[in-house]
Amino acid sequence: MRKILNSLLLAAFIAVILLISRWVGQQAYSWMPAQGTAEAKQVDEIFSFLASIGTFVFLGITGVIVYSIITCRAPKGDWSHGHPARGSVKVEILWIVLPTILVLWLSFKNLSIYQQLNIQGLPPVVMHMHMVESADAATVSNDSKPVGEGIDVFAKQWAWSFRYPGNVTSTELHLPVNQPVSLALHAQDVLHGFYVPEFRLKQDMVPGRTITLTLTPERVGQYRLHDSQFSGTYFALMEANVYVESRQAYSQWLAQAASREPTIASNQAVTEYTQATKKIFNSRWQTVQPAEPSVVNYSS
């Protein structure tokens, strides 16, 4: 009787944490920023999946520990021993084999998603022997994704600038919606990183190397581009506005920008460097001078 009751309780416990895990998996989508690209959907799917498995494991083990804490307390000062079990080959093999299968399965699932992301510029994963030959990222693009617009992205301490076809330059990034764009990333002094949270993909930028990042914006809106690799004193100020807009609006903007004379863009880092404001603690440490402000056709 007791045995049946125990099994029922166990089954109920597992059912409850399964339900909670499923719910967490569904909630996980809402913990992410809006899905701005085709790539974002795939990343969110894998996150949701990992979150539900993680919840199940966490609640399962914590549940056992909490159950023990509640029901298996020794009376004060009673140091007599508990159960004599030192191990069980069967159980131990089970908890080695199951996690191994689980993580291998997760890895293959991730591999297939990574392949679909199809990040250009870095050599794709080829599961045979010539892995190393094209390790240099540079301009390799033996890829099937049709690329529409090609835009150069420049990062320097501490400002972004962008160059569009026709040699139009700006300090904001404009992208046409629903069309793969190829971003050629150039760092001009130190490491930087290209990161728009809504786009999900992140890529470091290395001076002297051009790295191509391809993505397909799918949602019209305004976003923020952040520098994702620490780049020195004014790192936090290195942001730029990103506008994903219809093909028509994009072309209009491009034409308008092309018609403007290049001017010196405003630059927050330069402003802060030249007119430092008082803080509670002021170190007054000498620091790296920001690069010259960019000269661009269009700046906000």
């Binding site: 920023p33 996150f47 966490f58 023990s68 508990g82 191990g87 994963v125 992140k202 790295i211």
Partner: protein, 556 residues
């Protein structure tokens, strides 16, 4: 220095009260070049705790800055210096050397040795820590300030003038601490291999000793890569070489590989000893043998081995080619297997035990559960596609702090409370210990949990100001960190007060197995009157016939 006659260990239990008064280490010895591993152990632990307080203070200034989106508490160079030194101090001057101190104290006792293999080397290794740490702190006095490139010190930022002067000091300090660590590694490995008591076979060693063996092997194998990388970085700054300067044909990515080749295993150097601590405390307070001892011991070695081939997962968003991203995703995922073995073994140990929820047990259980959380976010981070989103965001910072604070620092507190009676011969105050636990547990979760949603939403680490949309969770994290800072006060009061005037402790207040509990509290200079002969498996908590003095449990 010592000449007291002592009874054999068998009788030590009863003779505790009258013996240790003749024998105590004087306070002067703690400030001397002592070669006693127990004195050195305490020297390490107290010194590193001071660095913990300094690192914590820096963290609280950082959290003070981040309570508002705008920059208002410190200026930007100082902010960058603060997080650089916070990370460096906590890793290289708190956790790693604290573990060395704990191991210094315990390993010879646990394996039945009279001291470490090379006592003088041991003392030299310790005495490199305070100058190394003070050198690092001295960089606050430079005109261009401390190092400001983060604890990774990636070039080219770390090479840039003027803050590269602080960087030079940072490198010299780390090289000194690194050499100290390598000395320690040689000493521990030799000690564990050659100085075990008769009958102390490898598979009778406590898991704590296994974990020290594994982590010190990692130090020996991996630390030279970092030391080499740092020296090349130093030459780039001071001698005009171009190893890592992209503008001169150097390769900054090579530095990332050298750095992470050590600094990923360094996480295991920090956490393995704490897994060892959990594996000592959970059986003792569950009154059960450690479940699956042999597989836990082997999992410790397996973790050390796997941890040497996962470093590139820190570089998924760097210019790491696709094949490497995938290869390192597979190896990183595999870490979950030996880690799982441990987590399951602890759970099975606690399962249907006879639990005593005293302070060390609370910290150990809390740490084990928090590590479960850290492990789950760790598996998420191993997934390359997901990592490309959260890489360098607060999600990583949150994950990392669930490891280094919620697991490791909790584990360190567990260890301090557990072995405090052994080390000092006095008992701490249980009530204050519990208050300390709850403040720490709540404070740590309030501080570090919010970092996960922040990271998912794209807040990047190392920013000194941020967009207002991130403020809500930042306020929680900052308030949590102030609570966490305060939570050390009852700990300090309890430990200092109890050390000075706490009630005398039994030799074995927890009725634990392990050789360190068979000698007096505190142990005599030579550790054991007679070197014990080991005849039992470890964690021998299944001797039903025996009733151990129940009146001795006065602490509950």
């Amino acid at each position: 220095m010592t000449n007291n006659p002592r009874e054999g260990i068998a009788g030590a239990d009863e003779s505790a009260e009258n013996s240790h008064s003749t024998q105590q280490t004087t306070w002067r010895e703690y400030f001397s070049f002592s070669t006693d591993h127990k004195v050195i152990g305490v020297q390490y632990m107290v010194t590193t705790f001071i660095f913990f307080l300094i690192g914590g203070l820096l963290a609280m200034i950082i959290r003070g800055e981040l309570i508002t989106p705008k920059l208002d508490v410190v200026d930007r160079p100082l902010y960058n210096g603060l997080f650089t030194l916070h990370g460096t101090i906590m890793i290289f001057l708190w956790i790693i050397p604290f573990n060395v101190g704990l191991a210094n104290y315990l390993v010879p006792l646990m394996i039945g040795a009279r001291d470490m293999a090379f006592p003088r080397l041991n003392a030299i290794a310790f005495w490199m820590i305070p100058p190394g740490g003070l050198l690092l702190l001295s960089s606050f006095l430079l005109k261009s300030g401390t190092a400001q490139a983060g604890w990774w010190s990636y070039p080219p930022v770390s090479l840039q003038s003027p803050h590269n002067q602080g960087e030079v000091i940072w490198i010299l300090s780390l090289v000194i601490i690194g050499i100290s660590s390598i000395m320690g590694g040689v000493n521990f490995i030799t000690t564990i291999f050659w100085m075990r008591a008769p009958g102390m076979t490898f598979f009778r060693m406590p898991i704590f000793v296994w974990s020290i063996l594994s982590s010190q092997l990692l130090q020996l194998f991996c630390l030279p890569a970092l030391t080499g990388g740092l020296i090349l970085l130093l030459l780039d700054i001071t001698a005009g070489t171009n190893f890592f300067k992209p503008s001169e044909g150097g390769n900054p990515i090579l530095y990332q590989h050298l750095f992470w080749f050590y600094s990923h295993p360094a996480v295991y150097v920090m956490v393995l000893p704490i897994f060892g601590v959990f594996s000592e405390i959970l059986p003792a307070f569950s009154r059960n043998p450690l479940f699956g001892y042999r597989s836990v011991a082997l999992a410790t070695i397996a973790l050390a081995v796997i941890s040497t081939v996962v470093w590139a997962h820190h570089m998924f968003a760097s210019v790491t080619p696709g094949w490497m991203r995938i290869l390192f995703m597979f190896t990183s995922m595999l870490v979950a297997v030996p880690t799982g073995i441990k987590e399951f073994a602890w759970t099975a140990t606690v399962w249907r035990g006879r639990l005593h929820l005293l302070t060390p047990m609370l910290f150990a259980l809390g740490g084990a559960v928090m590590f479960l959380f850290a492990g789950i976010t760790g598996v998420m981070l191993a997934s390359t596609p997901f990592d490309l989103h959260v890489n360098n965001t607060y999600f990583v910072v949150g994950h990392f702090h669930y490891v280094v604070y919620n697991t490791i620092t909790m584990g360190i507190f567990a260890a301090i409370y557990f072995w405090f009676p052994k080390i000092t011969g006095r008992m701490y105050v249980e009530g204050w210990g519990k208050i300390h636990f709850w403040l720490t547990f709540i404070g740590a979760n309030l501080t570090f949990f919010p970092m996960h949603p922040l990271g998912l939403h794209g807040m990047l680490r190392r920013v000194s100001s941020y967009d207002p949309e991130y403020q809500w969770w930042n306020v929680i994290a900052s308030l949590g960190s102030f609570l966490l800072g305060m939570s050390t006060l009852p700990f300090i009061a309890n430990i200092v007060g109890s050390w000075l005037r706490g009630p005398k402790a039994e030799n074995n207040p927890w009725h634990a197995t392990g050789l360190e509990w068979q000698t007096s509290s505190p142990p005599p200079k030579e550790n054991f009157e007679e070197i014990p002969v080991v005849t039992e498996p470890p964690y021998h908590y299944n001797d039903f016939g025996e009733t151990e003095q129940p009146e001795a449990a006065g602490q509950e």
